[in-house]
Point group: C2
DNA sequence: TTGCTCCTCACGTCACGTGAGGTGGC
DNA sequence: TTGCTCCTCACGTCACGTGAGGTGGC
C-alpha cells in the first residue's frame, strides 16, 4: 500500500538532455534502491554482506556504484523473491571465480543452475495450485453475495446447499467458509443466559 | 538436504488394520508437522499466534488436533510459501467470522481473494521470467564446458566469442559470467612483487 | 540559505531454529 | 525398562525495518 521508499520521480530536471540521467553514469545508493524497487538499507546490507561493492565514495562519504552493480542487485532481488537465501545466492555469485578453469566453472554452474530451475518449477507448481484453489474458492463464495439473514450463516455454512453441493471443494473454501472460528476469548465456563438478550 | 524433522515412517505398527492410523482420529503436533512438511516449532508457534488451536491435551500435556486443523495448517503453509505474512494470512482467516452477514462476508472475501490472485499472478510472472533467464544462461554456459586454459577465462570472458556473440544476453549470464569478482581481501595498496613468486 | 539525499550506529521485528532439561506413552 | 515423542522456557538467526542524530550537494 505505502511504498517503502519515497517514490518520487527519479530525475525531474528541466530537460532530459541536460538533466544528467544519462547511461553509464555512476549510481548513488538511492538510485540503486529506486531502480531495483528495494531500499537504502537493503543496498547497504548487501554491501556489508559482500554482495555489492561501490566503486568509490564521494568526499562526503556517499557511495557510488557502477551500472553492472545494478544488474547484480536486480538478479539478487529476483532470487530473494524466489525464496533463495543470501547464502545460496552468494554461492551462485561465487561459482565462477572459485573455479580453476572455464570448463570447471561451467560444470559447476550448469549443475547449480539446473538445480535452481528444478526448484523454481516446484515453486511455480505450488503457487499455481494455490492460485487455482483460490480461484475456485472465489467462484463458490460469489454465490454467497446474496446471502442475508440466512439460518445457517456463521456457524453452519457447510450445511447450506451452495457449499454442500460442491463435490471436491477447494481447500481454501473448506478452511475459510466452514465452521466459523472464534479465535480468541472463548469463555467456555460462562454462565448461560448472558449471551443473548431476549426482548421482554 | 537433511530434512528438518526426523522423517521416520509415521505408523510402523504391525498391521495397518490395527495400527490406528485411521481417518478422523485426532492428530498430534508431530502428525501435523509431518503431514504439512513443517516442524513442531512451527505448529506451536502458530498456536501462540492464534492460527491453530488444539481441541484437547492428553493428561501428559500433549496437544491433540482435529483434522480440520490440518487443512488449515496446509493452507497457511502454502500461503506463507507464496510470500504472505502471518498478519495477512490471519486477516484472510478472520474474514468470515468478522462479518455481519453472509453477503457481507462474501463481499469482503471476493475482494480479498481477487487481490491475492492478482498478487499471485505477478509473482508467477516474476518467477517465470527468472526461470527463463536462468534457462537461457545455462544454455550459453553449456558451451563453456570445453573451455580449458583459455586466454580470456577468469577476467575477460565477455571478450570470448561464445559470450560476446550473444545478442541480448540474459541478465544472469551478464552477472555470473562477466568480469570475475574478488569479493573479499582486495589489497589495493599492497607492495607490488609480493603476490607472485617468480622462480629464480 | 533551504530541502532533499545520504551517512553511521544501534535497537527492533518477523518467523521461526536450536538447544537445554524434563516428562509421557506404547 | 528402553526409545521415541512431545513438553516448556529461552536464547539465536536471518534479512532486513526504523528511528536518532548528523552531514552533503545542487
Amino acid at each position: 500500500v505505502a511504498d517503502p521508499l519515497h517514490q518520487t520521480a527519479p530525475h525531474t530536471g528541466s530537460s532530459p538532455e541536460e538533466a544528467g540521467a544519462s547511461r553509464d553514469r555512476q549510481l548513488t545508493t538511492g538510485d540503486m534502491a529506486r531502480l531495483s524497487n528495494s531500499t537504502l538499507r537493503t543496498v547497504r546490507f548487501y554491501e556489508e554482506e559482500g554482495i555489492l561493492r561501490p566503486v568509490a565514495r564521494t568526499e562526503g562519504g556517499h557511495r557510488l556504484f557502477e551500472r553492472t552493480e545494478l544488474a547484480r542487485l536486480l538478479l539478487v532481488s529476483d532470487m530473494r523473491a524466489a525464496g533463495l537465501s543470501l547464502g545460496e545466492i552468494k554461492e551462485l555469485l561465487a561459482m565462477k571465480s572459485s573455479a580453476e578453469s572455464g570448463g570447471a566453472a561451467a560444470k559447476v554452474a550448469t549443475r547449480a543452475l539446473a538445480q535452481r530451475i528444478r526448484e523454481l518449477d516446484e515453486k511455480l507448481g505450488a503457487l499455481t495450485r494455490l492460485r487455482e484453489d483460490l480461484v475456485r474458492t472465489a467462484s463458490v463464495v460469489a454465490a454467497c453475495l446474496s446471502c442475508e439473514g440466512h439460518e445457517f450463516f456463521p456457524e453452519q455454512c457447510d450445511r447450506c446447499a451452495i457449499i454442500a453441493s460442491e463435490k471436491d471443494p477447494p481447500r481454501a473454501l473448506k478452511v475459510l467458509w466452514s465452521v466459523g472460528e472464534k479465535p480468541l476469548g472463548i469463555v467456555e465456563t460462562a454462565p448461560a443466559g448472558e449471551t443473548t438478550k431476549e426482548p421482554e
